[in-house]
């Protein structure tokens, strides 16, 4: 059973790594040692009126040690709540729930992992790649990252990806780095070259990009997993607040992003 200690983290660092983007390192309890790529945590500053609800953030990296674990989250100060979180300092305590949600999957025979990230969407994919590079696979899979961002300054996590031997393909909205235009254009060019039987696509990014991805997937058969986002209260399937619509054999049904996801088959998503 989780204890108070499991629900409290100490901030080891919380630095601005790009305009409005922060990297936070947290000392957490042993229970986070089981965290898997795609899973997330709910973070909430201690003893303030605001934010009232926790904020869901994906796990960017995990390191276990003798008496606990250490996780990193890479996040954008998107609104009022994450701004408050970004103002917290080394040594501050923060309430944490997790690890929450399901995980990115891969079939034993996977030969190529294609990662598609939009902006801050890179965060959970870095953790995935770290684990894939350690995974017990017949042969080490080829790793290709397609990453898009507003400008070169907003390109995050690339160095780590390269360190894991990932082949990185960059696009920016303003052309300040790599291809100028949506990252999905870059991917589309190469789609035909991927073998649906041995390739897995992992996507994380803003909704417009995800919608373009589902357009691409209509004309291809490569399996594609997406990390979905929705407003959350409990993070554990109790409040039924974080609902999305998915296609199932028995018709369109509601799913909870926190409990049934956040990772879904991109082709099953019904976009609003």
């Amino acid at each position: 059973m989780f204890t108070r200690e499991d629900m409290t983290a100490t901030i080891l660092s919380n630095a601005e790594v790009a305009p409005c983007h922060y990297l936070m390192t947290l000392a957490v309890s042993k229970v986070f040692g089981q965290a898997q790529p795609g899973q997330f945590v709910m973070l909430r500053p201690v003893g303030r009126g605001f934010p009232f609800l926790g904020r869901p953030l994906g796990i960017y990296s995990l390191a276990e040690h003798a008496d606990g674990a250490r996780i990193e989250v890479l996040y954008r100060a998107a609104g009022k709540g994450t701004k408050v979180i970004s103002a917290l300092c080394e040594g501050d305590l923060i309430e944490i729930l997790g690890p929450l949600g399901n995980r990115f999957e891969h079939k034993p025979g996977m030969k190529t992992a294609v990662l598609v990230a939009g902006g801050i969407g890179i965060a959970p994919l870095v953790f995935l790649v770290e684990r894939l590079s350690l995974a017990a696979l017949p042969e080490r899979p080829g790793l290709i990252l397609y990453i898009g961002a507003r400008d070169s300054g907003s390109l995050l996590g690339i160095d780590r990806m390269r360190a894991f031997g990932v082949d990185v393909r960059v696009s920016t909205d303003d052309g300040s780095a790599g291809y100028r235009g949506p990252v999905t254009d870059l991917l589309l060019r190469d789609m035909a070259s991927f073998d649906a039987a041995t390739t897995e696509i992992y996507v994380c990014g803003p909704n417009p990009m995800l919608k373009r991805m589902s357009g691409i997937c209509e004309n291809h058969t490569v399996p594609c997993q997406v990390l979905m986002e929705e407003r959350m209260a409990c993070g554990m399937g109790a409040c039924l607040g974080c609902t999305i619509e998915v296609r199932t054999p028995s018709g369109v049904e509601y799913r909870q992003v926190c409990a049934d996801g956040p990772v879904f088959d991109l082709r099953s998503i019904v976009w609003r």
Binding site: M1, F2, R4, M7, R44, G49, F50, P51, F52, L53, G54, G81, E95, L97, E230, R231, M232, A233, C234, G235, M236, G237, A238, C239, L240, G241, C242, T243, I244, E245, E253, Y254, A259, R272
Partner: protein
């Protein structure tokens, strides 16, 4: 009280005995299973499960929730698995615990309320029904049962006639005079009352100029509603003789103690579970500490102890 003897925390809700006055609030604790990693259900006074209807319900389209200052809005739309799946899939798991299981029910017609109530009666592991009357009456132009004393009386009668279980009627705060509804339900045979359900609210995304909730309006809950809930509990305990259960913004033991002092025989913990899954455990401990600190042997000495002049 000898230093090491622990104070009594057992309370009586009509014929229902709770080992302590801390219950979970419907819709905020799932069917119990979700919180098993955080909460020892054996320690709870009672578990109130997510509202159940005769048939499964999909609920409202998303987005369904939004944070507000010191609280949250929800428009879940009473999504639930329905009576059959509840009895088949959810109840068996709950039976293993030494706690009281209260099933929250609702319907869109009087008949539906009756059918759900009878479908849940005479079944091992169900100890009481809580009737959510904050639902639109489809036969009366969608007018909410709980906003009208007569409709509230009818629902209570129908449910009482359909079950031998203790019946707790859960009142809506969106009324001019909650004591009228309370008296109507008492007259119709309610064994206890619980209040409050959520306050109707709304919030707007000013950049997109759309409501934050697809349903436009939703139910407000959390710390923000506590003063309103406490006032309604205080009014109600003096208007009826049946036990009253306090609900609304109970985040920590101090909040629970406020409701008990105002006269509530028990409290329900709702939104607090979302921000602190262990809230119920900490509140149970905190109430006991309060009793010890104030030299009280029995939580019942605290209940209704508010001094006014």
């Amino acid at each position: 009280m000898s230093a090491n003897s622990r104070p009594n925390t057992t309370v009586q809700i009509g014929s229902l005995t709770l080992k302590n006055p801390v219950m979970t609030a419907s819709g905020t604790f799932g069917y119990g299973e979700e919180y098993a990693p955080y909460v020892d259900l054996n320690r709870l006074g009672a578990v109130v499960v997510k509202g159940i209807s005769l048939e499964p319900r999909r609920g409202n389209p998303p987005p369904r929730i939004m944070e507000t200052p010191g609280g949250m809005l929800n428009a879940i739309g009473l999504q639930n698995v329905g009576v059959k799946a509840f009895l088949g899939k959810k109840l068996p798991w709950l039976r293993q615990f030494d706690t009281k299981v209260v099933v929250n029910i609702f319907g869109e017609t009087l008949e539906e309320y009756g059918k759900v109530a009878s479908a849940l009666s005479g079944i091992a592991g169900i100890h009481a029904l809580e009737v959510n009357i904050s639902c639109p009456n489809v036969q009366k132009g969608g007018h909410v049962f709980g906003c009208d004393p007569d409709a509230s009386r009818e629902v209570t009668k129908v449910v009482k006639a359909a079950t031998d279980l203790p019946v707790i009627v859960k009142l809506s705060p969106n009324v001019s005079d909650i004591t009228q509804v309370a008296r109507a339900c008492e007259a119709a045979g309610a064994d206890a009352l619980s209040l409050i359900n959520t306050l109707l609210g709304m919030s707007i995304d000013i950049e997109k100029r759309i409501p934050h909730l697809k349903n436009v309006t939703g139910g407000l809950s959390g710390p923000v509603v506590k003063p309103v809930a406490l006032r309604m509990v205080w009014n109600t305990v003096r208007a009826v003789t049946i036990p009253v259960i306090g609900i609304g913004g109970v985040m920590q033991a101090d909040d629970a103690v406020e409701f008990l002092i105002a006269g509530a025989k028990a409290v329900q913990v709702g939104t607090a579970n979302f921000v602190n899954p262990r809230a119920t455990m900490e509140i149970i401990d905190g109430i006991e500490e309060y009793l010890v600190r104030h030299g009280l042997n029995d939580v019942n000495e605290l209940i209704g102890s508010l001094k006014t002049d």
